[in-house]
C-alpha cells in the first residue's frame, strides 16, 4: 500500500501540540496502580529466597498466620494444589514457577506470599514465615552452565541447562567467506545484564468479586489483553469474566510485559478470600525478580576486502536467561529479531546462531526499551564495524559510508531474512557528520592526542526493526501480533478512539488524536483516546518494542479512512450529489469543481445521527484490525564525543548528536522527548548500569544505590535532529521511534571510548564502562 500523500499544510500531523494527558499528571491526579483503593482491600507481600539455589525442605506458616492482621499465607504447594504452581512464559518455550516449588532457583525468588490487612502487617509477617532451605551449589556463569555439572531445572524433560539453539543464515558459505577474507576481525563483545527499572514498580490489584463472579485485575501492564488471555488460560476463568484494567503507568520500558508471580498469588488470594488483594513490589523486588534485559555474550566476526568492502558476517551468541526462559519474544523468535545484526550494511552473506542457557539468576529477558534483542544485535554490528575500521586503519565513518545499503536497494532483502522497508543511510550519516563538524573534530583530536589527552569520537549508524508484526511470522502464545483501533464520532463532531496498545508515557492520548484529527479534519482536542481497559478496548498486543505507531497507528489511520468513506456518502447525501462528484480537499468534502460548496466533518457527524443516508446505518464509527505487511526499520546516525580522565578513568561526554529517521513524525516534540529519554537510558547502560551476581550467586545491585540511574548532573545534553524516509508500506509512513535511541546509543558511547583509548592499543572493554575498567585498561596498556 503506497504512503498517503499528505497535504502540505498539515492539520494535526507533524504538529508539536501539547499533550492531552498532562493536565492530570501535572496536578498529581494521575491514576497509578497504587493510587487505587478498593473497599475491604488486603495487601500482599512476598517472601524471598536468600539462596540462589536451594532445596526447600519445609515452610512453617504458623508464626506468620498468628501475626496481627494476617489473613492468609500461600506457598508453592498451595498453588500447585490450585493448579497454578507453574505458568507458561510468553513465548511458550518454557514455563515458570509462580512460587518456588521444591527448589529455589535464584536469589530473591518468590517463595511464599502473605496477605494481611495493611502493608506493614504483611511485611511484618513476611519475617515470620519460617523456611528451611538446603543450599545447593549455584551455577552463575552460562559458560559453566554448558557443562551441565549443576542442573538448574530438574522439572524439564531434557536434563540439561541448554534451553535451545537458534540460527539463521548460511553457515557454510559464511564460514568459507570468512576463512577466505583478506581482512578478518573477531571479538567477543558482552552486552551486560541490565534492568529497565521504571520509576513505578510493578503491581496488581486482584478483585475476584463473589457477587458478580468477575475477576477485575488492575495491572501495571503494557499488554492488558494478552494478560487477560493468559490469566484465562492459566486459571480456567473465561475471558468474559476477567476484566483487566491497566491504569496510568509510571514507565514500562519492557519491565511491565511479563506476568509476574505477585499478580498470580494476589489473584489466588482474592479468589480464596473473596476480597480485593493489592500487591505493589518494592524497588528491591523489582530489580531482583522482574524482567531483566540483555545478558548476551556475542562473538562477532566480520570479513572484508583490503579496501574495506565487507564480505561476510557471523555472530555467535551465548544467552543467559536465568532460571526460567521468561523472554517475552514472539513464538518463532526465541532470540527475538537478532537477525538484524547485519545492521545498515550490505553483507552479501551472513550467519548467526545462538545457544541459550539456564543459570541460577532471575528469569528473563525482556526488551528493555528496544525491539526484541535488537539492541544486542545493533551493539554487536556497530562494535564489529569499528573494530574492522581499526584493523583496516580506516576512518569509521568512511567504512560505514562504503558499506551502507544504498537508497536504491530498498526494499532491501537482508541475508538474514528481513526486508528493510526504506532508508537513506548515506544522507543521514552525512547530515550527522556535517552537523557535528566531523573533520574539525578529528583535527582537534589529533591536537589533543599530541598532548597525550584522550579524546574519542564514536559513531553508531544503527538500523532497528520494530512494529511486530505480520501474522505470517509473529504471534505471542499463538495470538497474532496485529493491533486494532475502534473510532466513534459523536453527533457534535468530537470522538473517541480506543486501541489495543497501552502507553506508559509515550503520549498516545495526544498522538492518536492527532492521527484521527488529520484523517478526518476534526480538532484533536476533541478526540478522546482510551487504552488499557479490556472490556472496552479492541484486542491488541500492547505497547513495547516500538510497535504502537507502526501497528496501532496504522489501524487508527485505516479506521479513520473507513469513517471517511462513510462520511463521503453522507456528504454526497447532504449536497444532493453523486458520490463520485464529492472529493476530500483541505480537510473538507467539496463538490468537484464547485469550491464554495463544502461540507465539514462536523456537519457530517451531526447528519450521521440526525439525517442519515436512507438505507444505510446511522452513526459514524469504524473498527480496523491491522495486520502489518512488514516490520518497519527506523534508523539513525549517532555521534558521541568523549574525553577520558586518565587518572580516574572517568569519561566525560562532551557532545552527543543524534539524527533519527523514523519516517513520518506525528508530533515532533514527543519524538524529541523520546530521543532524550532513550539516549539517557543508553548512557546509563554504557557507563553505569549492570545487574551483576557474584560467583556465589548473590545479587549485587538490589536497589538504586547499586543499580544506577543517572541524575540531571551526570546526564549529557543531547543534540537532536532528524531525516525522514517514510515507510512505504505504512498508511501514514510512520516507523516508530521510542526505542531507537536506546538501541543505537550504547555502541556510540563505547566506540567513542575505544577511539579515545586506541592510541594505547586498547581494543575492547565491555559495558558498563566504569571508571575502574577504563583505568585498568589504561594502566595495562602502559605495561
Amino acid at each position: 500500500m503506497a504512503t498517503t500523500e499528505l497535504p502540505p499544510e498539515r492539520h494535526a500531523m507533524g504538529v508539536s501540540m501539547k499533550r492531552k494527558e498532562d493536565p492530570r499528571l501535572i496536578q498529581g491526579r494521575g491514576r497509578f496502580l497504587d493510587d487505587i483503593v478498593l473497599p475491604n482491600m488486603l495487601y500482599l507481600a512476598l517472601v524471598h529466597s536468600p539462596y540462589p539455589h536451594a532445596r526447600i525442605v519445609k515452610i512453617d506458616k504458623t508464626a506468620a498466620l498468628a501475626s496481627p492482621g494476617v489473613k492468609a499465607v500461600l506457598t508453592g504447594e498451595d498453588l500447585v494444589a490450585a493448579g497454578l504452581g507453574w505458568i507458561p512464559t510468553f513465548h511458550g518455550y518454557d514455563k515458570q514457577m509462580v512460587l518456588a516449588v521444591g527448589k529455589a532457583l535464584f536469589q530473591y525468588q518468590e517463595v511464599a506470599g502473605v496477605v494481611a490487612t495493611s502493608r506493614e502487617a504483611a511485611f511484618d509477617a513476611v519475617e515470620l514465615v519460617e523456611v528451611e532451605y538446603e543450599p545447593l551449589e549455584p551455577v552463575v556463569d552460562p559458560f559453566d552452565a554448558m557443562s551441565d555439572t549443576t542442573l538448574v531445572r530438574e522439572d524439564r524433560e531434557n536434563k540439561t541447562n541448554h534451553i535451545y539453539h537458534w540460527e539463521v543464515g548460511k553457515r557454510e558459505e559464511t564460514d568459507a567467506a570468512l576463512a577466505g577474507a583478506e581482512v578478518h576481525i573477531k571479538e567477543r563483545v558482552y552486552f551486560q545484564r541490565c534492568h529497565p527499572a521504571p520509576l513505578e514498580t510493578c503491581g496488581s490489584i486482584s478483585d475476584m468479586n463473589p457477587a458478580t463472579g468477575r475477576l477485575t485485575l488492575y495491572l501495571t501492564s503494557q499488554a492488558p489483553h494478552a494478560h487477560r488471555t493468559v490469566v484465562s488460560l492459566v486459571t480456567g476463568i473465561p475471558e468474559d469474566k476477567i476484566h483487566v484494567i491497566s491504569p496510568d503507568i509510571g514507565g514500562g520500558f519492557g519491565n511491565k510485559v511479563p506476568v509476574y508471580p505477585g499478580y498470580v498469588v494476589g489473584t489466588v488470594a482474592s479468589v480464596v478470600l473473596g476480597v480485593p488483594v493489592k500487591w505493589v513490589e518494592t524497588r528491591t523486588e523489582n530489580l531482583t525478580t522482574t524482567g531483566f534485559a540483555r545478558d548476551y555474550h556475542m562473538d562477532v566476526e566480520i570479513g572484508a576486502t583490503r579496501e574495506g568492502q565487507v564480505t561476510a558476517l557471523k555472530v555467535k551468541t551465548v544467552a543467559d536467561h536465568g532460571a526460567f526462559d521468561a523472554a517475552a519474544d514472539p513464538t518463532k523468535y526465541p532470540a527475538g529479531l537478532f537477525g538484524i545484526c547485519t545492521g545498515s550494511y550490505d553483507f552479501p552473506i551472513a550467519f548467526t546462531e545462538l545457544d541459550a542457557y539456564f543459570t541460577n539468576k532471575a528469569p528473563g529477558g525482556v526488551a528493555y526499551r528496544c525491539s526484541f534483542r535488537v539492541t544486542e544485535a545493533s551493539y554487536a554490528i556497530e562494535r564489529g564495524m569499528d573494530l574492522l575500521a581499526r584493523e583496516l586503519a580506516m576512518d569509521p565513518a568512511e567504512l560505514r559510508l562504503k558499506n551502507f545499503v544504498k537508497k536504491e536497494q530498498f526494499p532491501y532483502p537482508s541475508p538474514l531474512g528481513f526486508v528493510y522497508d526504506s532508508g537513506d543511510y548515506h544522507m543521514t550519516l552525512q547530515k550527522a557528520l556535517d552537523k557535528i563538524g566531523y573533520p574539525e573534530l578529528r583535527r582537534l583530536q589529533a591536537e589533543k592526542r599530541a598532548r597525550g589527552e584522550l579524546m574519542g569520537i564514536g559513531i553508531s549508524t544503527f538500523t532497528e526493526v520494530v512494529g511486530a508484526g505480520p501474522s505470517k511470522h509473529f504471534d505471542i502464545m499463538g495470538i497474532k501480533m496485529f493491533d486494532s483501533a475502534e473510532i466513534r464520532i459523536h453527533p457534535t463532531g468530537s470522538g473517541i478512539v480506543r486501541t489495543g496498545t497501552r502507553h506508559q508515557g509515550q503520549g498516545h492520548e495526544t498522538t492518536w488524536a492527532q492521527i484521527v484529527a488529520e484523517e478526518l479534519g476534526l480538532d484533536p482536542q476533541n478526540i478522546l483516546v482510551e487504552e488499557g481497559d479490556t472490556d472496552t478496548a479492541p484486542y491488541g498486543l500492547g505497547t513495547y518494542a516500538s510497535r504502537s505507531t507502526p501497528v496501532a497507528g496504522a489501524a487508527i489511520a485505516l479506521a479513520s479512512r473507513r469513517i471517511r468513506e462513510k462520511a463521503k456518502k453522507i456528504a454526497a447525501h447532504l449536497m444532493e450529489a453523486a458520490e463520485d462528484d464529492v472529493e476530500w480537499v483541505d480537510y473538507k468534502f467539496q463538490l468537484k469543481g464547485v469550491p464554495g460548496k463544502v461540507v465539514t466533518m462536523k456537519e457530517i457527524a451531526f447528519a450521521a445521527y440526525t439525517n442519515p443516508v436512507p438505507g444505510s446505518e446511522p452513526g459514524l464509527e469504524a473498527t480496523f484490525y491491522y495486520d502489518p505487511p512488514n516490520l518497519t526499520f527506523p534508523y539513525g546516525a549517532y555521534i558521541a564525543v568523549v574525553e577520558i580522565d586518565r587518572d580516574t578513568g572517568e569519561t566525560h561526554v562532551k557532545r552527543f548528536l543524534a539524527i533519527d529517521d523514523c519516517g513520518t513524525v506525528i508530533n515532533p516534540m514527543i519524538v524529541e522527548g523520546q530521543i532524550h529519554g532513550g539516549l539517557t537510558e543508553g548512557y546509563a547502560i554504557a557507563f553505569m548500569q549492570e545487574i551483576a551476581y557474584d560467583s556465589g550467586g548473590n545479587h549485587l545491585n538490589t536497589n538504586f544505590t547499586d543499580y544506577l540511574v543517572p541524575t540531571a548532573l551526570e546526564t549529557p545534553k543531547w543534540e537532536t535532529d532528524s531525516t525522514c524516509t517514510p515507510s512505504p508500506h505504512h498508511p501514514i509512513g510512520a516507523k516508530g521511534v521510542g526505542e531507537s535511541p536506546n538501541v543505537g546509543s550504547p555502541a556510540a558511547f563505547v566506540n567513542a571510548v575505544m577511539d579515545a583509548l586506541s592510541p594505547l592499543g586498547v581494543k575492547n572493554i565491555d559495558m558498563p564502562l566504569t571508571r575502574e575498567k577504563v583505568w585498568r585498561a589504561i594502566r595495562e596498556s602502559k605495561a
Binding site: R119, D647, T648, M688, T711
Partner: protein, 293 residues
Amino acid sequence: MFPAPFEYKRAHSADEAFTLLGLHGGDARVLAGGQSLIPAMRYRLARPAVLVDINPVEEFSYIRETDGELRIGALGRDAALESLAFIAERYRLISDVSRVVADPVVRQMGTVVGSLCHNDPCGDWSVAALASRAQVVVRGSGGARTIPIDEFLVDSYTTAVAEGELALEVRFPTPGARTSGAYSKIERKVGDFATAAAAVQITLAADGTIAEAGVAIGAAGPMAMRVAAAEALLRGAAPSREAVAAAADAARALADPTADTRGSAEFKKDMAGVVVARALASALERLGVEGLR
C-alpha cells in the same frame, strides 16, 4: 520497606532530650535528620525500640562562629552550610563537602552532627572533621565533654557517644588568613557513596612553606582516616608537585578499602591517592599556589 514498630518520644527541650535518652539508654536512637537512620530502619537493618525525636529542640539549631571556632549544633543541616555565604567564603573545605553530601534534597534534612555520629565508612563529614581537627561536644548524665575527632570516631558506625548520651555540637577551628582547605570526592553519580574521598586543610607559613596540614581520606577503610604520614611530610615542606605526589602515595599506602560495586581494593587504593592530590592542589590554589595539578 516498612520499619519495624518502635516507641516514639519527642523532646521539646535539651533537658527533655537528655532525660529521655538517659531513661531509655541503649534501647533508644536519636532521630535528627533521619536520612541515614530511616533508610536503615526501612530495610530493618536498624530496629531501635525507641526513637527520641530532637527536631523540635530549637536550641540545637545553630551554625555560629564563636571563639575562633565554627560551631554547628545537633540540628545544623547540611543545606544550611551549603547556602551560607560566610561558609563559602571562609570555610572552603566545609563548603566543598556541603555540596556533595548525598543529594540536594537529602541535605535539607541531614545534619552534620548526625553524620558524624553515624560514622559510615563512606561518610563525608568525618573526613572533613579529621582534616580540620574538629571536636565534638557530647553530653550525658555525667556532664558534657569535648572530644577531639580522632577519639570521637572509633570504628565503622561506632563513636565515643555512649548509651544515654547525645552529641550536641561539632566545632571546626576557624581558618586563619593563610589557611584553606578542599574536599575531593569521586562518586559514580550524585547520591552515591564515595568511591574515594579526601579532605585537606593547609596552613602556609609566612615563607610559603606548609606550616600545618590536615589530610584525611574516606571510603578507604572501616572509617575515615587521618593520613598522618602525609601530614608529616607536608609539614615544613614547600608546596610542590613532588610533595603533593608524596602525600598522595602516603594515602595510597594507608588506604585499605573494601572491594564492592564501586571498585576493587586496588582501584580504590589508587583513587585515594588521586583525591588527596586533587584536594591538595585545590587547597593550595585557594592559597595562591598554582600549577600543582
